[in-house]
């Protein structure tokens, strides 16, 4: 009896022990599970962010917690440590097994999750996307809750940049990854807006990608400063990117009023978290950044999920849902648009004067 045959035998035995587990019970499919159907009366909403430890999504959690207090559902957050496109799959599968009422997800990929989301929907779990939508794959979720009208975002950012640089001079865009759907929509919007005669003297000289990573964003931002010594502004419609740009102009000393600034210096604007940008705004390194309160998305997604589970709200073009007001924001009746997208409102401007109010706990 050699050790190999012992292992072969053991392998066979192990396989024999597992094999019966693999046979379907004669009765209904999946009847062996004890936790398939959620217990009536207590709903459970799970939020799966792009990755854990991301301050943007932590801010969003506050909205869920607020709604959880008001509506009495059980709330939890789970998700991968890194924002890999397929890393969320196992968490969705686990939540299907744990019997969630609704999964609210900020998806890392517009298409890699399709099959898994369909499995969840087949079990009656409501799927709501927040932050960004599954562009082109909307049928794999029930509702998309978006912060503001992404179609007008490009115009808005160009106007803000223009106002700062007197509608004259060179500016660049620093984005996240090349396939981020929101980003691309906004970049297209900005490229279209710049054709307006009002912006004739403004020149978009470069679009670079920082992949939403600290090191890459900073290196790309510094490269912008090297390539275009007469740059007047950078628009970074990403929270990681705008921070990287702020660090770059700070460390190079070319921000408005910095020791190496030529003329008016390089003004950075974009989408930024108030807390993260607080010091740069207050020190005048960055004139202003914009963002919606991420908590609003969590709050509205919670209400939508609970009303859907109760059967009181069915997402469809033109359907409305009533949301109670939040301390800082009026809500009221929200209308669902094309592709079951619910748009919340306008972004908030954070600047030197008001940043403390929004950054406070």
């Amino acid at each position: 009896m050699t050790r190999k045959s012992i292992f072969a035998l053991a392998a066979l035995a192990a396989f024999g022990a597992i094999a019966p587990l693999g046979c379907k019970p004669a009765g209904k499919d999946g009847a062996s599970g004890s936790g398939d159907a959620p217990k009536s009366g207590s709903s459970r909403i799970v939020f799966i962010p792009k990755n854990m430890g991301n301050p943007y999504f932590e801010a969003m959690e506050k909205g869920f917690q607020q709604a959880s207090k008001e509506l009495g559902f059980e709330f939890s957050t789970t998700g991968p440590a890194v924002a890999e496109p397929t890393a969320q799959i196992s968490y969705i599968k686990d939540e299907i097994q744990r019997g969630a009422t609704a999964i609210v997800i900020a998806a890392n990929s517009v298409d890699a999750l399709n099959g898994t989301l369909d499995e969840a929907k087949a079990k009656g779990i409501k799927i709501i996307t927040v932050d960004s939508d599954l562009t082109g794959n909307e049928s794999h979720r029930d509702l998309g809750v978006l912060a503001c009208d992404f179609d007008t975002m490009g115009d808005f950012l160009i106007e803000q940049m223009g106002a700062i640089m007197n509608y004259e001079g060179k500016f660049a865009i620093l984005s996240a990854t090349t396939d981020a759907p929101n980003q691309n929509k906004w970049i297209k919007g900005m490229q279209a807006a710049i054709k307006n005669p009002k912006y004739a003297k403004m020149q978009l000289v470069d679009v670079v990608y920082g992949d939403d990573k600290d090191q890459k964003s900073l290196t790309e931002a510094e490269a912008l400063l090297t390539k275009h010594p007469d740059l007047k502004g950078i628009i970074a419609p990403t929270t990681v990117g705008v921070y990287g740009c702020a660090k770059a102009v700070e460390q190079a000393g070319v921000y408005p009023g910095g020791k190496n600034a030529k003329g008016a210096g390089v003004s950075v604007i974009g989408l930024g978290v108030a807390k993260q940008m607080q010091r740069h705004l207050k020190d005048g390194i960055v004139p202003k950044v914009f963002l919606w309160d991420p908590a609003e998305q969590g709050y509205i997604a919670s209400y939508a999920a609970v009303r859907m589970a109760e059967g009181k709200f069915t997402p469809a073009d033109g359907a409305t849902i009533n949301i109670p007001d939040l301390p800082l924001t009026k809500m009221g009746d929200k209308k669902v648009g094309k592709n079951n997208v619910l748009i919340i409102g306008e972004p908030v401007e954070y600047n030197k004067e008001n940043v403390d109010k929004y950054a406070g706990e």
Partner: protein, 332 residues
Amino acid sequence: MKKLLERRELSLLVAIVLIVSVAIILQPRFASEQNIRSILLWVPLLAVAAMGQTAVIITRGIDVSVGSILGLAGMTTAILLRDYPQLGVGGAAIIGIGLGALLGAINGGMIAFAKVPPIVATLGTLGIYRGLTFIVSGGRQVDDYQLPKDLMNWSLEGPALLAKVPFVNSIPWVVWIALLVMMLSHLGMTYTRYGRDVYALGGNPDAAALRGIPVNFVTFMAYVLCGIGGGFAGVLYASRYGTVNPAGIGNGFELQVIAAVVIGGVSVFGGTGGAPGVALSCLLLGVVNVALSVLAIADTWQMAIYGLVLLVAIIADERFARSARKRAGEAV
């Protein structure tokens, strides 16, 4: 042997000069002060972490947990500075570096005394230290405004002494710190008993044991040094990036560090290479990385080019080394 080492550093220098020249021809502003600063700021993090890894790889080991050590030490330093600002930047930095040493000692203890293979031990701690980074931080990042301005200034300002010297005055502290670390490692590896023991152990472990070199202690210390390098780099990370995020800090950094050490002429078969080569290879990687961005080489091409450069470097190195060995063989 001496010749061979010089050749490696020479070839790295040639590579750097070549890439810089091409970059300047394609984009004259590559030589601008702004860009030189950008390259200089890119290198220190990598260089400080690579110095420790150099000792480990010379002893025929490897430490793939260095990115996680950087993460845990950097995160802890940032948290200390946020919650106990009275510690001061220096105090918190010393604790961060000390934590790095402790984490390295855990690796070293397992490898030197419990005889766990280095890749297994550090693959394990890669996960454990990353998990701990999340646990100590509660999964939350430390923001720029929560850290003292003094720490940020390491990446902004140079020593006051040099404020009057043109150009040099704009070289920030982190660069001087990295230079100092590199000098110390070079001196330590060349002129101390410990340094010679590291080379002896890497060159021939069996003979080293017979010659009475405390093999276990030398191995153990190599990982402690690697931990110190990682911990120090973690502190520098907090200064350079300001935001310390538990998922972002040091994630995947181990590959850059190992690449830098190997390109720098340290053989994974042990016994050869040293600080000057590794320092030059860190500079080379910095130049390549910044050049890829400044020359606007499409984002999607960067990883492939990086891999190709790495591959060419190691093949060329092996060919050089082989022909040198052959010549040495003929001479004898």
